[in-house]
Subunit: 111 residues, 2 copies
Amino acid sequence: MKGSYLGELEELILLTVGALFDEAYGVAVMDEIEKQTGRSMNVSAAHAVLRRLEEKGYVTSRMGGATNERGGRRKRYFTLTAVGKKALDESFAFRNELYKRIPKMAFNFSL
Amino acid sequence: MKGSYLGELEELILLTVGALFDEAYGVAVMDEIEKQTGRSMNVSAAHAVLRRLEEKGYVTSRMGGATNERGGRRKRYFTLTAVGKKALDESFAFRNELYKRIPKMAFNFSL
DNA sequence: GGTGATTTTGTCAATGCTGTAGATATTAAG
DNA sequence: CTTAATATCTACAGCATTGACAAAATCACC
């Protein structure tokens, strides 16, 4: 199966789209990621991932209208789909499970 | 900074190396991943990742001697380094933190 | 006790998917 | 028409995955 797992950044961005709820557009996602993780990021990086997530069916997008901000192009808003949320839940549960299963290593032993 | 994050599979395999402790060689890692995740995997996939992890300093490797098994080439054993364990701990803590910070989304709302 | 088949494992080479950056186009307000 | 906010395009480095092949060790037959 191809593209059946969620990449590191894909998971992060999917999570952020969910968190920003109805304000999830490219730049906002990028800013939020930078703020939360300290990881510097380019808008096109965010968009590339968002587009891929849309292809996978984890988010949908729609164009917004004009706003009362200074100016600028219309925003493309992204929304988490039920499938996307499911993927996120599973990813989280799965990793947690895996870490839990390894008590002799993960947090109890040191080199 | 390049290669400064831990890919999805890299995290999984690093975790597995820690879990297998003194029995972490290519085939064993592959088997364990397949057993734990159901994800089918090729030996060379495991080795490619292990080599990258070694380049990053997250694991070290040494060749083993002959064993009393049927036959076969000498095993290359991998060991988690302190740096590797730290990366794993941080990766885990960080993601957990992120999921926690997003109560309005991660587990409390549905579409 | 050699010699080759068999088993277990590692290495190589090639390819597609993910992550990242820079440059450019579009839309709207001033 | 200049400036600001966003999106899109193009290109490339790094991660994930596969298939084919090489190496080392035992087994079994003679």
